[in-house]
């Protein structure tokens, strides 16, 4: 018996076998091997067939961040296969469940079926798969030629015996390789030995099918016998269905049924769930769906269907104004305030000679991925099939089980491409709704599509957050000596504490939060919590610098000078150099700076910090142009340079749109905005020049997240630039709803 390989303090067995006449290899948690009932079948991570094709089963869905391509690259790093021979498939959550984590060995209960391929030990696990496969292929060729495996070179899917020049392809020996037993599993390459990781940036493997229209997103799923459903949920979140009049749509073409979703009905499976994000945030809203042979028929019939709703407790919050006023008013009371962070002693702040205090507010915002929410489910007596594009396949799998009452081994999720998530497809409340509709029309696959209006008004929004920030400044240096943040929202993910400022640079800190009972539901929106906090924090720091009479760059550099993660200072210095900070600009045109970080989790050397300099101009009439965004960052190290640049470019645009344009408002307790005519998006003509610089990298041993960090930084950099151009300080988002004119 060979020794299992060790990763992340757990051990794994490399298992091999023959699949489709070729070689299959998997990594199985050693503990799972002893579990009663674990399936004996192989769960291949990689299959090499006689035609030389390398099929890689990837757990991480491709949501646009390159996770699938990166997984293939980690295997190719060791396997030495020809890149063009690689095909990817989505790993099965059902098989993962039956094999006690056959595809999620590193984080079994967490999000192995989501996020990025560079997270934690994932790269190492995939490298191990590639290395173990390569050594078996070499050993099989060695047996064939009766030579030592060490004399064989594996390169570009070809095995070459150096001395004799004999060659075999991987496909030639694939069937033999499955029977090879190695005395020990090979060691994987260390970063200094990498040939591809960190050095190459292949175009994403999904792009060929994207540019010719053949890629299948959730909304593109077509299965035999499928019907379509259009959906209407209670227009006031938390409301109830009173009645509807089906007779009014009787006889409309194609209509098959009207079904309802009742949030109060009993549901669930009597077993422990491994849903990575639980079920609490997936509870359904009261809904009516019309099922028809075609989507447009369902859509028209739903429009014609009279429905009456009971607005429920949401009636208490009729307008945006009332919600925002309540959030701001809550800041004046410490009753019910929940302490989030206390460092040192802030009591001196009340009597400080130099004090800065301001109140900030961010609005509801919708993630608005371009693919409307949708999903296809077939519910039968003994089986549930789901075709869907979630951000996390395991979450979708468990929610489908819970809503249908089907045990997980009889639930089959077919992961599709994902037309944007940004948090909206994380919790799988959409999966619950799809299955809730489909289970009322069993036996035929039901394809449920939210209209854009339905999706935008039935959101899980970036919450309204109000915060009052107070700082005392040192009388000599002008730097903050104490900082107090009071915040109020209905929402999860308060992230005020997640910054380097409170890990030394500002010695005394108190942060507390107030939870408010608004009916409008919050949810994860790209950079949850952080996307509000970074704006408030970085605007406030700019105001402190101004009060101290210190240049905003110099002020931040002084604050982070002794911080143990050099990435903060390096990013600031790099972006200042690249953007030529302080250059002379005409009146009405100015630069602004911000720096923020995501993913620190209270650790000084974790996470990704992004520093941004924005250059804007504002006409006297108040017309804003964002000319350029320069960004420098530190995520430790970079594994795929071009993809990182792509995600920072996109993240800055996302953050810019959030800061300039986005606001969901409430009237009559209902969401007002329903589509892109009232919820505007930046277009090509609005997009500033963006320059991503790599000079901020610390080189510390981590590959931290890239998707969220730039989202927080873009807005405050632009806001601070607007202040320097106009003298107007923006303490609310979105900026473009405010008067920016100046004299």
């Amino acid at each position: 018996m060979t020794k299992p390989v060790m990763l992340d303090r757990r051990s794994f067995l490399v298992t091999t076998g023959t699949v489709a006449g070729g070689f299959a290899l998997s990594l199985t948690p050693a503990l799972a091997q002893q579990r009663a009932g674990a399936i004996a079948e192989l769960n291949p991570w990689v299959v090499i067939t006689p035609d030389n094709v390398v099929t890689i089963r990837v757990a991480t869905p491709e949501i646009g961040n390159g996770a699938m391509t990166q997984a293939a690259l980690a295997i190719a790093e060791e396997l030495e296969c020809d890149w063009s021979t690689i095909r990817t498939e989505q790993a099965s959550t059902t098989r993962d469940y039956l094999s006690y984590g056959g595809y999620s060995p590193i984080h079994p209960a967490a999000a192995f079926f989501g996020g990025r391929s560079t997270m934690g030990q994932r790269t190492k696990a995939m490298q191990q798969v590639g290395a173990s496969a390569r050594e078996r292929l070499k050993a099989a060729a060695a047996l064939r030629w009766n030579v030592a495996a060490s004399d064989i070179v594996a390169e570009k899917s070809t095995l070459t015996h150096s001395a004799s020049g004999r060659k075999l392809t991987y496909g030639d020996v694939a069937a033999d390789a499955g029977k090879i037993k190695l005395a020990a599993e090979p060691a994987i390459r260390t970063p200094d030995q990498w040939k591809r990781l960190g050095k190459t940036s292949p175009s994403k493997l999904t792009i060929p099918q994207i540019v010719n229209g053949s890629g299948i997103y959730g909304v593109d799923v077509r299965v035999p016998d499928m019907v379509y459903a259009a959906l209407r949920q209670s227009p006031v979140h938390g409301g109830k269905l009173k009645r509807y009049d089906e007779s009014k749509i009787k006889g409309m073409p194609g209509v098959l049924a009207v079904v309802t979703v009742d949030p109060d009905e009993p549901r669930g499976v009597a077993m422990m769930s491994n849903a990575p994000y639980g079920y609490a945030m997936t509870q359904p809203r009261a809904a009516v769906a019309v099922i028809a042979e075609h989507y447009w028929q369902a859509h028209k019939a739903l429009e014609a269907l009279p429905i009456e709703w009971d607005d429920g407790p949401g009636a208490a919050w009729p307008t945006t104004q009332k919600i925002q006023d309540a959030a701001i008013a809550a800041l004046d009371s410490d009753d019910n305030a929940r302490s989030e962070m206390i460092v040192g002693d802030v009591s001196g702040i009340a009597t400080a000679k130099k004090r800065v205090e301001q109140t900030y507010l961010t609005p509801y915002c919708d993630q608005a991925p371009l693919e409307p929410l949708n999903g296809t489910a077939l519910v039968t007596r003994d089986r549930v099939e789901l075709w869907h594009g979630p951000q996390n396949t395991q979450q979708a799998f468990w929610v489908a089980s819970d809503e249908s009452g089907m045990v997980p081994e009889r639930v089959f999720v077919h992961q599709t491409l994902v037309g944007g998530g940004f948090g909206r497809r994380l919790e799988s409340d959409d999966v619950r709704m799809v299955v809730a509709v489909a289970k009322r029309f069993p036996g035929r696959p039901v394809h449920v599509i939210w209209s854009r209006e339905e999706m935008m008004r039935q959101g899980k929004y970036r919450p309204v957050v109000a915060a009052k920030l107070t700082a005392s400044l040192d009388e000599k240096t002008g730097l903050p000596t104490a900082f107090v943040a009071k915040q109020a929202s209905r929402g999860h993910y308060p992230r005020f504490a997640d910054t380097a400022y409170f890990m030394g640079p500002i010695p005394n800190v108190r942060i507390d939060a107030r939870e408010l009972p608004f009916h409008v539901e919050p949810g994860p929106y790209r950079g949850p919590g952080y996307n509000s906090y970074a704006f408030m924090q970085e605007t406030f720091i700019d105001e402190c610098a101004q009060a101290a009479g210190v240049d905003p760059l110099d002020y931040r550099l002084r604050l982070f000078r002794d911080f143990p993660n050099p990435g903060w200072v390096k990013s600031l210095e790099d972006v200042a150099k690249q953007a030529n900070w302080g250059k002379k600009l005409p009146k009405g045109r100015a630069q602004g700076l911000a720096i923020s970080a995501w993913g620190l989790n209270g650790q000084k050397t974790l996470g990704t910090v992004v520093a941004v300099i924005a250059e804007v101009s504002v006409t006297k009439a108040g017309e804003l142009t964002v000319h350029k965004l320069d960004a420098s960052f530190d995520c430790g190290r970079v594994m795929n340079r071009d993809e990182v640049a792509n995600l920072i470019q996109g993240g800055l645009i996302f953050g810019l749109n959030m800061a300039l344009n986005e606001e969901i408002t409430v009237a009559d307790s209902r969401i007002v905005e329903g589509n892109f005519d009232t919820y505007p998006m930046l277009r090509l003509r609005d997009a500033p020049e963006i320059a991503v610089h790599f000079g901020g990298l610390s080189g510390l041993d981590r590959y931290s997240e890239i998707g969220e960090p730039p989202v927080g930084t873009a807005g405050p950099a632009v806001g601070n630039a607007i202040f320097r151009a106009t003298g107007k300080r923006l303490r609310r988002q979105p900026f473009l709803k405010q008067d920016l004119s100046w004299v």
Partner: protein, 153 residues
């Protein structure tokens, strides 16, 4: 009623409510799912096709109005993804989630038919599709590259 559609050089006759938007005829009745549903009100451009050579938002035209006219969808842009835009999109790693990109490519392809050497102003004026992932920097660069490639050919 029966309507005839000329899609990518092929004629297809189907029974469909003449008020149905072309988008849903393509996607749901005829299976051309490369043309995407994004907003349904002509804002986002994910559903862009060529109708008689013009970039058209297929959610905004009825089946009755589209019938009989030559329609080109992303599936018919080239037989083998060899259109200069498709090649540039792959080479320059343009898409993130990719959902808007078929519409974006169709809008750009219609532009390149008449504007062979587009300036940034041309691009800004002629293409106003939405990319929520924010890949505009790369879209612009890839259009310039594809245009240069097409001029060489």
């Amino acid at each position: 009623m029966a309507l005839e559609f000329k899609i990518n050089g092929k004629s297809e006759a189907i029974e469909v409510d003449p008020e149905t938007p072309l988008l849903w005829v393509l996607r749901d009745h005829l299976g051309y799912t490369g043309t995407k549903f994004g907003c349904g009100i002509g804002q986002c451009g994910a559903c862009t096709v060529h109708l008689d050579g013009q970039a058209t938002r297929s959610c905004q035209i009825s089946a009755a109005d589209a019938a009989g006219q030559p329609i080109r969808t992303i599936e018919g842009l080239s037989p083998d993804s060899s259109h200069p835009l498709q090649k540039a999109w792959i080479e320059m790693n343009v898409p993130q989630c990719g959902y808007c990109q078929a519409g974006m490519i169709m809008a750009a392809a219609a532009m390149l038919e008449t504007v062979h050497n587009p300036t940034d102003e041309d691009i800004d004026g002629l293409i106003d599709n939405i990319c929520r992932c924010g890949t505009y920097t790369r879209i612009r660069a890839a259009i310039h590259k594809a245009a240069a490639e097409a001029r060489k050919a």
